[in-house]
Subunit: 322 residues, 2 copies
């Protein structure tokens, strides 16, 4: 079992690599190697019990894709993306990476003829517009960002290449990940992690929305568990539509702040400032969160039980000395 | 008012060109020129009251697109496509024309900065899979052909480029067009016209499905009327989701044959043979037809009143000597 994680240098890619290495097997087979590929050399996995290779890969370049997707690759995780605010700012970068990059990976797998399992991360940003909520497994997609449009295009390609039996694909629309460790990226949802991550480390962070703003969340730990379960599903489980929402949970900012206070005491919440950032409004206004992930739940994927868990997972997984 | 019809050599493109020429105006402005562009030199419009230019254009080639989409182009009809059976046979041809070709036209319009109106023809082939019927304006797309997947991708691009105010796009999912004149093309739906077109001209034609097969149809005449209405809609009419089903009507093959008999007497129906063509089944099995085009109907687009009309339109428009 050779596993390739494209986007293996990112927060989820790194956590997924560590979880797979610790697990040692996938789809009933011992893991022979995990390859972490990313646009910049991804960090290796410390003390991995299985061999890990780190390499650069630019999915916009078919030759670069051919260097990491090989005849030995059994499972591909395609996590690499230009995220929301970045793709909104630079349409061409989003099209090149999110649309053409996805197609390049699919075309490489097709050329090899090895029908690898491919796990694609889409996003709840595919939802929006005038489509009435709730968003079920069968709801139309009317994304209100270019990132969402490009992810929806990726879903169509993954499903079509799977229908043609060129890959064995499956795609999951990730909820907003919180609490996301590390440095802020260019996602418009960045504050939904930073208002917990920074205060839990004694630093201030700004919340640009009001406390009653609600949204659809998942912890990194559950996300990684779901991505592993996602790879283990069979084509028969997935049926015709290979892409679906990943289970998440709706909370208001206030509920999340209260959960942080319940777990970590009253100090962190005092470090949150509440200044509006009007430049984020056009993106945030287009987001919708009444999402029903029935298919994925029936297939065994799970949301977090409470946001207190999300806070605890962050403290345990990302601030182990705290 | 300069109008460009890409795919202007096709059946609908030619009829649309003639209808626009006869009309003389669009969006409240006199038509200065109609340009018919196609992969092979399209036929000119005989006795056109407005200037008509015919030119070759390969939408897979950005330089070729730049030659026909110019700063003077006010309205673009993007009808060119690799059709269903062809795109199923040749995935790369479909991706090149249906996906990248659409993107090339959008990128050219973006580069010009002139925000032309763009009318995109999608297809009911975007519907299918495990998505429950009826298919409304807000139903998820799970196409079961690569043609359908590529059209769904085109819709997402048209809507996103419109949201970004780079074009003023609108897309319509065409019902199966019947009675389609001319020679058969490589669409799997070809028999849905040929079993009327050929018998009405004294020739045999084969029907590969049983008389109770039902599907969603529109006449070429109504399709052209709807495409003209579609160009006249304002961005305010269209709101966020720029793509929608075009109104059509569901009939069984038997109802359609009966309509032919009512209009043209019993002879033509006797020329239909009824032999199965199993190679078409995988495509036809994936099609769904319980489609509700509420948004388009509210915007004034229309289905045919009866299939007898479809037969009469064919006789009037395409066999005027008959």
């Amino acid at each position: 079992m050779n596993i390739l994680i494209i986007g293996g240098g990112g927060v989820i890619g790194q956590k997924l690599g560590r979880a797979l290495a610790a697990r040692g097997e996938l789809r009933g087979k011992a893991i022979a190697k995990i390859t972490l590929a990313d646009i910049a050399d991804p960090a290796p996995i410390a003390n991995s019990p299985v061999p890990v290779e780190a390499m650069t890969c630019n999915i916009a370049d078919p030759a670069s894709v051919a260097g990491c997707v090989t005849a030995e690759t059994d499972v591909i995780y395609l996590l690499a993306a230009i995220v929301s605010a970045h793709a909104e700012e630079d349409l061409d970068a989003g099209l090149t990476i999110n649309m053409m990059g996805t197609l390049n990976v699919l075309q490489r797998a097709r050329a090899l003829g090895t029908k690898p399992v491919l796990v694609f991360t889409s996003s709840i940003a595919v939802n929006g517009g005038e489509v009435p909520q709730p968003f079920t497994d069968h709801t139309g997609l009317n994304p209100q960002t270019s990132y969402g449009a490009q992810k929806a295009i990726g879903e169509l390609l993954v499903t079509d290449f799977s229908r043609r039996n060129l890959i064995d694909g499956r795609g999951f629309r990730l909820p907003t990940i919180s609490v996301r460790p590390g440095k802020p990226n260019r996602a418009a949802s960045g504050f939904m992690s930073s208002i917990f991550r920074e205060p839990l480390q004694g630093q201030t962070a700004n919340c640009p929305v009001s406390p009653d703003f609600n949204h659809y969340y998942l912890s990194p730990r559950k996300c990684v568990e779901n991505l592993i379960k996602g790879a283990e599903l069979s084509a028969e489980d997935l049926v015709l539509n290979r892409c679906m929402p990943m289970p998440g949970r709706v909370w208001t900012i206030q509920q999340m702040v209260d959960a942080m206070t319940a777990v970590a005491g009253p100090e962190p919440a005092r470090l949150i400032t509440w200044e509006k950032q009007p430049e984020l409004d056009p993106i945030l206004d287009g987001w919708r969160m009444d999402i029903r992930a029935a298919k994925a739940e029936n297939l065994g994927l799970e949301a977090d039980a409470s946001f207190e868990d999300n806070i605890r997972y962050f403290l345990e997984d990302d601030l182990p000395g705290a």
